[in-house]
Symmetry: C2
Subunit: 384 residues, 2 copies
């Protein structure tokens, strides 16, 4: 099929910031795109060829949207999978396949998948309802602390809570969930794997998520990770195994923990371009969005190596600010070396909302790290 002709149509489910960054690449290759998103203010609304407002969880909406495209991809996992399955049966190329998404959409299913395929992951228990956890504790089947995770619709840290005592269970929704053993880890790592339908596979260098020492929140994504080469190799092998078993097509971000004794445990995966790969726009030979497009169109994959070291800082809404967004001190960070801000185009800020990110690139990773800290301390996402 000639992707570079106007006869070809690529459908994208979801029109948020990931889709927006994907569209830079479809524009570069002049690929005709059609986007479905529930919001009429979706960042993807411009830059795509056709935009449709609609519910991503609604069977008919997704089915009707998808049946008129040649290849269908996603930028968010919460999609009506029955519609995707039907589209696959009718010959539409859905990448990642519905099967991959089904494994991932439910966190319990995802964890069981790792167990079934002998992929190292933190021990966990599955509960049909949160209320059952208390029984398990009194029976000695569970110990504090653990991480409670809602199995469905967990996205961007919603539906996750560290439980240190019975009291912490108060107020949690009484839904299907998992309770995962809390693993003290040295580092949180991620590897982006890319795979095309012809079977070509490649991995990006291991990245490191550096946490704020007090807030326990990811502050920086650093590429390459400042870890031992053997640990990086281990992480790479495990990510490749996850990719192989999941039979995904496109980009797959594999998030992992490096434990105190240098074990690698898989935390969770995202079968799409991911926050941990945003650095690649400025730092890599082929960024994750172009790579995803290459993969789902079954084009040859690009070079995943880096030109320079890259660090990403998320721009999230400051606490105490809700309303029309203002990027305070933007000009100050533009003065700093190798700094590129990405503004997602959401008009309203609220505390911790992802509003954009900033990439810092430099030949010298230590310099980049210092500049990243200055960026973090300078720009503020506030309201008018």
């Amino acid at each position: 099929m000639n992707y570079f002709s106007s006869d070809f149509k690529l459908g994208i489910l979801g029109g948020g910031q990931l889709g927006k960054m994907m569209l830079y690449e479809t524009r570069k290759f002049d690929i005709h795109t059609k986007v479905l998103d529930p919001s009429k203010e979706a960042p993807c609304k411009i830059s795509c060829n056709e935009f449709q407002q609609g519910d991503l969880m609604d069977y008919d909406t997704v089915y009707n949207f998808g049946k008129n495209v040649d290849v269908l991809t996603i930028e968010i996992e919460n999609i009506n999978l029955d519609a995707l399955e039907q589209l696959e049966e009718e010959g539409i190329k859905v990448y990642p396949p519905s099967q991959t998404l089904r494994t991932i959409q439910n966190k319990a299913t995802q964890k069981l998948f790792y167990i079934d395929h002998n992929i190292p992951t933190a021990p966990f228990s599955r509960f049909a309802h949160t209320s059952e956890i208390e029984d398990s504790i009194s029976n000695g089947g569970m110990e504090f602390p653990f991480v409670w995770k809602c199995t469905k619709f967990g996205y961007d840290g919603q539906g996750v809570k560290v439980v240190r005592s019975l009291k912490d269970l108060d107020g949690l929704p009484n839904v299907e969930c998992i309770a995962e053993k809390m693993i003290p880890f040295k580092n949180e790592l991620a590897v982006i794997v890319v795979r095309n339908p012809s079977g070509q596979v490649a991995t990006y260098p291991v990245v490191e998520m550096e946490f704020h020492p007090e807030a326990n929140q990811v502050e920086y994504v650093i590429c390459p990770a400042r870890i031992d080469e053997k640990v990086a190799e281990k992480a790479n092998i495990i990510a490749l195994k996850v990719s192989e078993k999941m039979k995904h097509i496109g980009v797959l971000a594999v998030e992992m923990f490096q434990t105190k004794d240098d074990q690698i445990l898989v935390n969770e995966v995202a079968p799409r371009p991911h926050n941990s790969g945003h650095y690649s726009i400025e730092a890599s030979y082929t960024n994750q969005f172009e790579q995803h497009i290459r993969a789902i169109l079954d084009l040859p994959l690009g070079n995943t190596a880096s030109k320079v070291a890259g660090i990403m800082v998320n721009l999230v809404g400051a606490e105490g600010h809700t309303g029309n967004v203002v990027y305070d001190n933007m000009e100050e960070i533009l003065k700093m070396e190798g700094v590129t801000p990405h503004i997602y185009g959401k008009k309203q800020t609220r505390p911790f909302r992802k509003m954009g990110h900033v990439t810092i690139v430099n030949d010298d990773i230590a310099k980049a790290r210092k500049i990243a800290e200055q960026v973090k301390g300078t720009i503020k996402v506030i309201s008018e």
Copy 2:
């Protein structure tokens, strides 16, 4: 002014491939854009916030378009300048200023500008009509060979002809023109200078246009130029002088000849992102389009250095092909290392039409040069 708010509007005159690449950057910074172009199939039609179809040479169209924006820029020089002057008087920020464009729009005026400011350029004569050249030759005032250039609307090699004998004058339009001494040169070089209203100035590394040994057509733009450091320094100083005297704002591409005896002569300039800077998208810390946006918004300029060596190959329509475009062997070039195609989105090809470009980046410029040759020999822009 807060550029990163929806109250701000950036107007772009012209909606071709340069505008299209500029829009990647306005999207990245979430800057509200409005584009004017005569074609309803302009590559910029999507990705801008507002598109208007209209004549760029019509006073009323340009004036009415411009009076509703805060900053107005161009991606093509042939614009109604009286409208721009009026807009400037009314307080619209027009970058580059109409004065810069007035100097450039007429090639005789541009050449005289170089003479007036003691900027080295090839000797030339100005003629009100092409027919006057013959008299000048018979009077001994002109010698073959020379380069005939129409003073107006010269763009992309149209309106330029090498004249080796009287016969070559046949068929040329009888218009205002210049006849320029043909300078045997070693290299054609270019330097991109960027300047913001606050007076911050920066230059990109000198690039080299490598010509096809027989066809006398630019085949590759190579950054950095493979020339002596002293020559590069000289080119840089002259480009800075042109920039200073022209009082442009934004990006200015200064094209120069390196003569056999290592003199630098200014050929011509373009006060906008330019073909000679396309390599910067993949190779530079700050690409020329982002840099242009930073400059015209009076933001701090970005780093102009390169991360890696970059080579650009233009994708022009193959001879003998007119009609719906096909990019033959696209998949083959995507297999090559560090290769990024840019497809401008013009649906129809014709011989020598600029349809896209390909960038090749590599740590090693010699390797990049080899791959560029493979790219050039592989991809073909043909019709269906």
